[in-house]
Amino acid sequence: MTPRLELRNVTRVHGEGHTEVVSLSDVSLTLAPGELLAVMGPSGSGKSTLLALAGGLDQPTSGTVLVDGTDLATMTVAQRAALRRHDIGYVFQQYNLIDGLTAAENVALPLELDGAGRRAATTAAVAALASVGLADAADRFPPQLSGGEQQRIAVARAVVGTRSLLLADEPTGALDSVTGEQTLRLLRSHCDDGGSAVLATHDARFAAWADRILFLEDGLLVDATSGPDISALGEVTS
C-alpha cells in the first residue's frame, strides 16, 4: 500500500555560516491511509518545519518528501499548489478564518479558489460543517462563535472536498481541555473514515489520540511509540 505521506532522510537547514540552524535532521517517517500520527516535542524542536515540508509549503535541504508516492521535488510550483488545494488540508492554532465571511463561505473558499462553482462549493461546505456538528452555524460569522466552534470550522475547511491528508499544527493550543478533546475527536474520526492526519503538539494528552507518536528533540527524531503495526497487516503469520 502506498503511504499517504513519506519523508525519507529529510534535513532542513535554515541560515548559513555561523547563523546556520538545523531545524530538522535526517527525519524519516511514513503515514498510512487511515493513520493519525502525532509529532511531539517542545517548541523549537522542528514540528512546524516538519509539517511545512510535508505540505509542500517548504522544501528540504536534502532528502525526499512523497505524497501518495509522488516526490514533491519533481513537481512544478503550480502542480504543488494544485496538490495542496486538492489533497492537503491545514489546521492552525489560530484558526485563520476570515472574519468578514460566514462559516460556510470560509469553508467554501478553498473550493472556489480551485475553480468550483459557487453552488457546488456551498453544498460541499455545508456538508463539511455538518460533519463537524456545526450545520446550524453556516450563516454566522467567526467573531460570533466560540473558540471551539471556530476551530471546528477550521477543521471543516481543512477536510472540505477531496482533501484527505490533514496537517494540524497545535490545533488545540488556544482551547480548553474539553473543547480541545472535541477537535481531536474530529481528527480521529477523519482518520477512522480512511483519511490521514499528522498532528504536531507539545501536549501529551492530545497526542495520545494518535495511533503512533514520534518524539522530536532539536530537529532529531529521538523515539516513537510502537502503535498498531500497519506494515504487518496482510502478512501471513506462521
Binding site: P42, R188, A204, R205, A208, I213, F215, D223, T225
Partner: protein, 199 residues
C-alpha cells in the same frame, strides 16, 4: 465509604454492591466479595447500615447515621499529606547520581512508556457507548491527567538536567565523554520502564 454511597441510592445485596462498584470504576480497582462483606459487617456494627434477611439474601440499607457520615465524606476534601512512595521518582533520583547519559536514557524510556499508557486510556474514551457515562469519563480523565503529569514531570526533569552545571571534577576519573546516542535502540537498552499497570 463508596459502599455507603451506593447504598444511599437504594438497598442492595452484598454481591450487587460488588458488581455495581466494579461497573462504575471499570474494574480498575476490583473488590473481592470477602472485602465487601467484611466492610458491610463493620458498617453494620458501627450503625451505618442495617441488614435484613439471611446469608447471601441479606439486604443492606443505609441508616441516618450512615447518611450523615456519607455527607461528611462528600464535604471533607481529600488531603494527600503522606504521598505514596513512587518507584519512578526513586529511579530518577538514583539515576541522577550516576552518569548523565544513563539519566537521559531513563527519562526517555520512561516518557515513552508513560505516553503509551496515556494512549491506552485515551483509546478507552473512544467508545461512543461510554460517551454519556459521566462517572466513567471522570475516572478516565483522572487516569489521563495522572499519566500526563508524569510525562510533564519527566519533560521538566530533562530540561532541568540540561541546565545543570557540569561538576568541576567531571571527566577526571572517568572515561572520555562521548556524544549521547539518541537512537531509540540506545534509549531503550537496559531500562525497564516503571509501568503503572494497576493505578
Amino acid at each position: 465509604m463508596s459502599l455507603l454511597a451506593l447504598l444511599d441510592e437504594g438497598p442492595r445485596y452484598g454481591l450487587q454492591l460488588k458488581q455495581q462498584f466494579d461497573a462504575r470504576t471499570g474494574d480498575i480497582w476490583p473488590l473481592n466479595v470477602g472485602q465487601v462483606y467484611t466492610t458491610l459487617a463493620r458498617l453494620e456494627r458501627d450503625g451505618m447500615v442495617a441488614a435484613s434477611g439471611d446469608g447471601t439474601q441479606r439486604t443492606y440499607r443505609i441508616t441516618d447515621r450512615g447518611r450523615a457520615q456519607l455527607t461528611a465524606w462528600f464535604e471533607q476534601p481529600e488531603r494527600d499529606t503522606t504521598p505514596a512512595r513512587d518507584e519512578l521518582v526513586l529511579k530518577l533520583i538514583l539515576a541522577a547520581a550516576r552518569d548523565p547519559d544513563r539519566l537521559a536514557a531513563v527519562i526517555r524510556s520512561e516518557r515513552k512508556a508513560a505516553v503509551e499508557t496515556l494512549q491506552e486510556y485515551t483509546r478507552l474514551k473512544r467508545d461512543p457507548a461510554d460517551a454519556t457515562d459521566l462517572g466513567w469519563l471522570l475516572l478516565l480523565d483522572s487516569l489521563i491527567f495522572k499519566a500526563e503529569s508524569r510525562i510533564r514531570w519527566l519533560d521538566a526533569a530533562r530540561t532541568r538536567m540540561s541546565h545543570q552545571p557540569v561538576p568541576s571534577g567531571a571527566g577526571a576519573d572517568s572515561a572520555p565523554s562521548t556524544p549521547t546516542d539518541t537512537s531509540p535502540g540506545a534509549a531503550m537498552a537496559g531500562h525497564e520502564p516503571a509501568r503503572q499497570d494497576t493505578p
